[in-house]
């Protein structure tokens, strides 16, 4: 077994950095598998109820703000791009680039959350927070324009799914923002370079995954049913 001078980041129970990196990457992928199954339960509920109440779902969906949703999709894709560049900069040893890209990613993540908050607030104003989540302000679908064949009481089904899915997605974004802040802190102190950057890499995997969830949420929640409007 070769014994190179060991890197300060090498943990005692690994033979070398390569093994450590392999374990870290595999670990993150396995974790993402659990995330897929976690969101999968909600996608299943969505599929069932949407096929059951297509008109009610379309009516409710059309009440969401398409411009805000589209902008947010763009923001998230851009943040994935900057995240990928941050990893690239770490791999190629560009320290400034790494810090700038990480900071941009963080900022874009926060922008996404800000826009999401505006959307949530709009729903609050329209009495569209489902159930008795807000005391004294029960759900009321009268503001939603109903397409023919849509039953009013089923509109609420769409909104709990909307809030459950985008809410869980937002929680993941918040966790991602926290994660990236830590990474940014260490990056600023020059911890990551071509030899050792696995933490940047696997945070990137997580960030891209959260982006992918949104790539599905956007059409499912905002778009399907738009064409029925006219």
């Amino acid at each position: 077994m070769e014994h190179k001078a060991s890197h300060p980041a090498l943990q005692h129970h690994f033979e070398n950095l390569e093994q450590q990196r392999e374990a870290g990457t595999l670990g993150m992928w396995v974790f993402l598998v659990t995330e897929i199954m976690f969101f999968g339960g909600m996608f299943l509920a969505y599929t069932l109820y949407r096929t059951k109440y297509p008109q009610a779902f379309a009516s409710a969906s059309n009440h969401l703000s398409l411009p805000l949703g589209t902008i947010n999709t763009g923001v998230l894709i851009l943040s994935s791009f900057t995240m990928a560049l941050a990893v690239y900069s770490a791999q190629t040893g560009k320290r400034r680039g790494q810090i700038v890209c990480l900071a941009l990613t963080l900022l874009l993540g926060l922008t996404f959350l800000g826009i999401k908050a505006i959307e949530y607030h709009d729903k609050y104003v329209d009495h569209l927070i489902p159930g008795r989540l807000i005391p004294g302000r029960p759900f009321d679908a009268s503001g939603v324009h109903l397409l023919p064949g849509a039953a009013k009481q089923n509109v609420e089904m769409f909104y709990w799914i909307y809030f459950a899915m985008t809410g869980m997605h937002a929680v993941h974004m918040i966790i991602g923002v926290g994660l990236l802040s830590v990474i940014l802190y260490f990056a600023a102190r020059g911890r990551y370079g071509p030899e050792y950057h696995n933490p940047v890499e696997i945070s990137g995997l997580y960030w891209h995954f959260v982006d992918i969830i949104w790539i599905f949420l956007f059409p499912l929640l905002y778009l399907l049913g738009r064409h029925l409007e006219h």
Partner: protein, 561 residues
């Protein structure tokens, strides 16, 4: 490094994982998988006894046909809490988090699990979940049954559903993290020469278990979250008034909870494979079949959950599919049973305590599995669903299978874990008491259930009393049988005979290091040049350099201490 050399056997390594550091802090902040295993061992034992107390209350109530000891509401809480504690806080972590945690790195020749800090975190998460659940029990309890079916749990129950659900939700993450750690460790940290087909079957079983943990647990997590959401805000998720469907809850719940029964029994099967091969001193019959049947169980286990919904207004067509698939899942389990039996054939069997448990496992698991097939037949299930037949079925597997495997493994590896021998006479005696007590408890329940006694009621028609008296008597015997090991194992930690490195004279890697092992398990990284369960005759052992005249050790210690 070349092939392992032979060294003098140290009575005990001077510095081992237990005496390497002292003080409470050195335990609570440890990253050593062996110490974390002990932390888990203590906590699951604690929960096991709480669960046991509830069991005793159930059996006491059912001694007479009248509901005289507990009111119906209290009784509902007692069986619910028994189920929640035993399933989520004892059986699911039992073998993986204790024996698995201790042995997975050691059996593959690694210094630790891949993520030691996450391993410690998982224990804290487990504790947090446990504390919240205990809070729910103390604050007023839960009465929904461990299955939390909607709409009772979301709308009608007046008990602490959300707190208990939160506890289970949180402890689920500890199970996910354990599974994740095992998978990564087994993939990336095997010692040089430890190929996949040289892995002990215990490792294969844990790999398969970990798959179930990471693929199933997230689904129960989201299910419980949605349940809590619905209960808090009544948004209609499982509420037909708004358009929701309560049966969706059952689908999601059983998507996890059927595979979860394999989280409980697969590790136990891994233990039994070790015990059967090692105490027959033979290579396991059909190693690859046993190894792959673990994976097959992990996969097929996900295809059968609908057999819990046969009478829940599930479509008959889906019922037929699930019934068929449930029959299919029995095949890999049967393969294991046949291979174990074939391994025994012409083996030099010794009936030490662990082996007694292993043999008990085979018999009881077979009964449990076969009655599962009864239940998986659509027409029979309509008759016996929600009766004591079902209760007997799953206890045969979860107690007769999972618990016996756990106890067998605990005795088998006790010398390695504690560095002390347990008293063999007491061990065999209590194994027999457990076996007798268990059968007396649950065999009558098959009959009562088949005759129509429903589960989950505190009163019953008098004609069922004879079965219930037998069952309660058996439960007391079983309780005593389980207390004896607790006493002598604790006793042996101090007063037991010191264990050698390899008290059973076996070839596995974990026996090639001191008892108890040093902090990083091996003093130098082992290089594996032998197959799993390689019991060569002694003359051959000498030729290949693994046996030394004058020592009673078949396998060399790796590294000096």
């Amino acid at each position: 490094m070349k092939a392992p050399e032979t060294f003098e056997i140290p009575a005990a390594a001077r510095v081992n994982y237990i005496n390497a550091q002292y003080g409470l802090k050195s335990w609570l902040l440890t990253k050593d998988h062996k110490r974390i295993a002990l932390l888990y061992l203590g906590s699951i034992t604690f929960f096991f006894f709480i669960g046991g107390l509830y069991a005793m209350m159930i059996r006491l109530e059912l001694l007479t046909p009248q509901g005289d000891f507990l009111s119906s509401t209290t009784y509902n809480k007692v069986f619910t809490q028994h189920g929640i504690i035993m399933v989520f806080f004892f059986l699911i972590p039992s073998i993986p988090a204790t024996l698995g945690n201790f042995l997975v790195p050691m059996m593959i020749g690694a210094k630790d699990l891949a993520f030691p800090r996450i391993n410690l975190l998982s224990w804290y998460i487990y504790l947090l979940g446990g504390v919240i659940t205990i809070y729910a029990l103390l604050a007023g309890g839960v009465d929904t049954g461990w299955t939390f079916y909607a709409p009772y749990s979301t709308t009608f129950s007046n008990s602490y559903v959300i707190a208990a659900g939160l506890g289970i939700f949180i402890s689920g993450f500890s199970s996910i993290l354990t599974g994740l750690n095992f998978i990564v460790t087994i993939h990336t940290m095997r010692a040089p020469g430890m190929t996949w087909f040289r892995l002990p079957l215990f490792i294969w079983a844990h790999y398969a278990t970990s798959l179930v943990m990471i693929l199933g647990t997230p689904v129960i997590a989201i299910t419980i979250l949605l349940l809590a959401f619905e209960r808090l805000a009544h948004v209609g998720i499982f509420d037909p008034a708004v358009g929701g469907d309560p049966v969706l809850f059952q689908h999601l719940f059983w998507f996890y909870s059927h595979p979860a029964v394999y989280i409980m029994v697969l590790p136990s099967m891994g233990v039994v494979s070790e015990l059967i091969a090692n105490f027959s001193r033979k290579n396991i019959f059909g190693y690859k079949f046993v190894a792959f049947s673990s994976l097959a169980i992990a996969v097929f286990g996900f295809l059968v959950w609908g057999h819990h919904l046969f009478v829940a207004s599930q479509s008959v067509y889906a019922g037929m599919i699930f019934s068929f698939l449930s029959f299919a899942v029995a095949i890999p389990s049967a393969i294991k049973v046949f291979n174990w039996t074939a391994t025994l054939y012409k083996g030099s069997i010794s009936f030490d305590t662990p082996m007694l448990y292993a043999l008990g496992f085979i018999g009881l698991f077979t009964i449990g599995g076969m009655t599962g097939l009864f239940l998986a037949s659509l027409a029979i299930d309509v008759h016996v669903s929600d009766t004591y037949f079902v209760v007997a079925h799953f206890h045969y597997i979860m107690v007769g299978g999972a618990l016996l495997g756990y106890l067998g493994g605990l005795h088998y590896w006790w010398p390695k874990i504690s560095g002390r021998m347990y008293p063999e006479g007491w061990g065999r005696f209590s194994a027999l008491v457990v076996f007798v007590g268990f059968n007396l408890t649950f065999l009558p329940q098959f009959v009562a259930g088949y005759l129509g006694m429903p589960r989950r009621y505190h009163a019953y028609p008098p004609e069922f009393q004879v079965f219930n008296v037998l069952s309660s008597a058996g439960a007391s015997i079983l309780g005593v049988g389980l207390l004896i090991p607790l006493i002598y194992l604790v006793w042996s930690m101090r007063y037991g005979k010191r264990a050698e490195a390899n008290p059973w004279h076996l070839p596995g890697l974990e026996w090639r290091t001191a008892s108890p092992p040093p902090t990083e398990n091996f003093l130098i990284t082992p290089v594996v040049t032998w197959e799993a369960y390689e019991f060569a005759p002694p003359e051959e052992m000498q030729v290949i350099g693994k046996f030394r005249e004058g020592t009673d050790l078949d396998a060399p210690i790796i590294g000096k201490s």
